[in-house]
Symmetry: C2
Subunit: 149 residues, 2 copies
DNA sequence: CCCAGAATTAATAATTTTTACCAAAACAAC
DNA sequence: GTTGTTTTGGTAAAAATTATTAATTCTGGG
């Protein structure tokens, strides 16, 4: 992500907060920024540890509470994983997920061809679709390399 | 699922247990059967409640332990959801999931057209793929009907 | 610049989910 | 039958998440 995008995201964040009547506090800013800067879809705990350097007084409670607030206002997205700890990502470009079954890492990717495939007709009876996501499972390159030793 | 398929699944279950050196106990049988009979991807707690009628002495501990054992031997599959409680399904035909964002229900569907789409080339750098799954989000018909009132 | 209201903090605790422990009993498989 | 695995019951612990309360801090709007 280049610095312009970054600035835009932070602007969008401020705007969304204001629209929703949310105050733009230091903590909310930093938590959102940390999510933008992270590509590893951190959990609340991870974010907390990551931010304590910059913000020694930050409380874990605030991280959980803030993430829940963000989620409610669609600023962040809670990932679906099998792990016990929930993972989050800042909500920007549409993408899909690759999950490494060994180390649990999550990688993003885009797949334009997928978006054009017609959905199976049976879905009409199931419900209305608002989001389509692909989840791939496998081994990430790092784990593959580690296993070859 | 017709009763032949069902029998086949139970046979496959017994065979897999034996291959893995797992004893075919009453509890394991019933837990697996309950999963085969369920289309709602129940959690450990739900399975426990569901089975207590037939098996009053079953313990929750056993359900968790057994599901973990099954998962290790690839007899069941732990679903990825945002919910706190993990959900399980018996592992048979390949399918995708529709999640209702309102009531949390999970519906299965197949999508042959999806399976033929070429993956984006960028994935080569990420890792090797073992499973591809689509997760759709939306409102199930029941929730849509309820909202129209 | 000030004020009201919102948000955070600290410290603790409760809840929920999941897993673990033990000794005793049950039971599947050979 | 014997053996070794598994379940049970009861309890407990760990991990993840949410809540409480009062005091303090800070944002946003005037």
């Amino acid at each position: 992500m280049n610095s312009d995008d970054f600035k835009n995201d932070l602007d969008h964040f401020e705007q969304t907060c204001k629209n929703a009547g949310l105050k733009v506090t230091q903590q909310r800013m930093e938590i959102y920024r940390a999510l933008l800067e992270s590509s590893d879809h951190p959990s609340a705990e991870t974010l907390y540890r990551r931010l304590r350097d910059r913000m020694p007084t930050l409380s874990l409670d605030t991280v959980y509470r803030t993430l829940a607030t963000f989620e409610k206002h669609r600023l962040v997205h809670r990932l679906e994983t099998k792990e016990s700890q929930a993972r989050f990502e800042a909500l920007n470009v549409r993408h899909h997920h690759f999950l490494c079954d060994r180390c649990g890492s999550v990688f993003d990717f885009t797949w334009p061809a997928f978006d054009t495939v017609a959905l199976p007709p049976t879905l009409g009876r199931i419900g209305t679709i608002e989001r389509k996501n692909v989840v791939l499972h496998g081994r990430c390159t790092a784990c593959l390399a580690a296993e070859d030793r």
